[in-house]
């Protein structure tokens, strides 16, 4: 790009991929600025894992003594569940920002610029996954401080964070798809609330599969949450299971990509 003119070198086909990544970053940068600006939210992110782990850990402690329970303590079992749960809540409301941007007119301003249209969606997804990775790291550290055991070292910890980031992309994609169609934040909130609890309780975040009725086990197997929880839990409780880990990463990445495409498509259509 020619700096003195500033206009040349933009818009040509060959620069499209470069502008896509750049645009994605700047859309994400703005979202992250919002995130960092909300001090109360950051405080909650730090406090929440303590509450979850302490409260839920104690409440269901007896479950660990049931024959066939796969962990020594419920807290150990619960920790990866808390990571995924917080990731779910973080990602599922990611569509709100698109509703706000549309309402406040920022979306029009963004689209009047020569940015790649798909970068609006991918940028928001990127920001959400960075936030989720950050949250996952915090929960991980807090869980370790509370005595949760972990059996796969630094590499395993990194994988936990990667899985959380990928999982948040899936929910962000779902949320942004609805956010592209629904014009009110109340409406989007209602739809997303409708999703969160069923997603949570049809997964093995809180309870082993073997404790569930057969039909619920089937649902849990296709729930994207399970593809993050299973490898994550193995990393916590026993150690490396590469096959399970690769399967989880591939499935999550694929589903995230598909929802990202869907969200982009719906978003483009909503602007016509």
């Amino acid at each position: 790009m020619n700096a003195s003119l500033g206009l040349s070198g933009v818009g040509g086909k060959k620069t499209m991929s470069r502008t896509f990544f750049g645009d994605t970053w700047w859309v994400a940068w703005r979202e992250l600025k919002h995130f960092v600006g909300e001090k109360i939210r950051i405080l909650m992110i730090l406090v929440q894992p303590f509450i979850w782990l302490a409260l839920m850990g104690n409440m269901f402690e007896k479950m660990a003594s049931i024959p066939g329970f796969p962990a020594k303590s419920y807290l150990d079992y619960m920790a990866p569940g808390v990571v995924t749960m917080v990731t779910l809540f973080g990602g599922i409301f990611g569509g709100m920002s698109i509703v706000w941007d549309r309402r406040l007119g920022f979306l029009n301003k963004l689209l009047a610029a020569p940015i790649a249209r798909s970068a609006v969606v991918s940028g928001k997804m990127l920001a959400i996954s960075i936030q989720s990775a950050l949250q996952a790291s915090i929960i991980f550290v807090i869980a370790r401080l509370m005595g949760v055991s972990f059996h796969s070292g630094i590499g395993g910890a990194v994988m936990v964070i990667v899985l959380a980031a990928l999982l948040s992309l899936v929910f962000a994609g779902i949320s942004l798809s609805f956010g592209a169609m629904i014009r009110s934040h109340e409406g989007l909130m209602a739809v997303m609330n409708f999703f969160t609890m069923p997603l949570m309780f049809t997964s093995n975040a809180m309870m082993p599969l073997s404790f569930m009725p057969p039909w619920l086990q089937t649902v849990a197997k296709i729930n994207p949450l399970s593809y993050a929880i299973n490898p994550m839990r193995t990393l916590f409780l026993t150690g490396w299971n590469v096959r399970e880990l690769v399967l989880g990463v591939v499935i999550l990445a694929l589903v995230a990509f598909l929802f990202g495409l869907l969200a982009t498509r719906l978003f483009k259509r909503s602007m016509a």
């Binding site: 790009m1 500033g6 206009l7 703005r30 600025k33 406040l104 009047a112 020569p114 602007m271």
Partner: protein, 381 residues
Amino acid sequence: MDTGGAPGPASGQAIIQVRDLVKTYRGGVQAVKGVSFEVMKGEIFGFLGPNGAGKTTTILVLITLLESTAGTATVCGYDLAKAPDEVRIRIGYVSQDIAVDETLTGRENVALQGHFYHLDRPTIEERSREVLEMVDLTDRADSLVSTYSGGMRKRLDIAEGLIHRPSILFLDEPTLGLDIQTRTRIWEYVRNLRDREGITVFMTTHYMDEADKLCDRIAIIDHGEIVAIGPPAELKAGIGGDLLLLEVDGRPAPGKSPTGEPDDAGKAVAARPADASDEAATAAASDEAAKFGDFLRGLEGVTKVSTADDGRWMLVVKGGEEIAPKVLAAVSGQGLVVRSLAMKKPTLDDVFLHYTGRALREDEGASGFLRQRMSLRRARM
């Protein structure tokens, strides 16, 4: 449609060319019904019309945010449909929403916009300083926008629209909901942009004074159609002279009154003496009104006689200062009492009335809408 005042396409300086543009929304609402116009390089061109006339829709099509249903348009020489990105890098857009990001500083807002236009960092740094200076925000550039007043936000929004040095700046209702001092300042900035930077400005407004004072040429748009186009002075001159507003005892002006009760006042005055029949009296009154209208029409210098929006007689005269006393004398000579006589130069409101038969009133709807937006913005914090 009157396209007088718009130079032909052969002049070669048109920076925006629009032909038979139609926009129908998905629900079937036809917001723009086939408008054609040209904007010349370096002019301030305004779309004047009431809310819902199709102004914003036209802007959204021209800035490539909406696809037109029919018709063609080129901006900076590029077809909107074929090369939208070429258009985008050459234009700036400032919406009526004041879409600045409160959680960022003024400088960050401008810089972010620079990144969206793919400028490199040194360029962004230099230009940010430049455009913030242009709108007098240098002192507050590093404060969070949440601490800015409404006028400062608007100025920042305009600065953002300039970061990539566009050839055309699109301003959608640039002073909507701003106080009078701020409006005057915004006008100054817009004028400077054109005078010093040579930027072409396309703006919409429903404020007549704004269109009158700021625009080199305006298009009056109503119900999705352009009803008149030209420089404000020319449009006003098109009415044919000055306006005399006349009230005469016992001779109310006929026809339409804005309240929808035609000749109500006339009835009251005329009906009392002749108790016999109301209808006969009304007929007699309107007959008298018609005769009096013809009498006025026959006076020297009077070119048109009609009923004003408020029910007074409205006379279009050549040279109001000389004709007014003559009208007064002539009416008095008929043994009638002139209750009031006012003269005024035609405004764009009169032009609007002339072409559409309705008055262009500044309705409260728009500012109410803005208030709602502002409270929404606060709620978000």
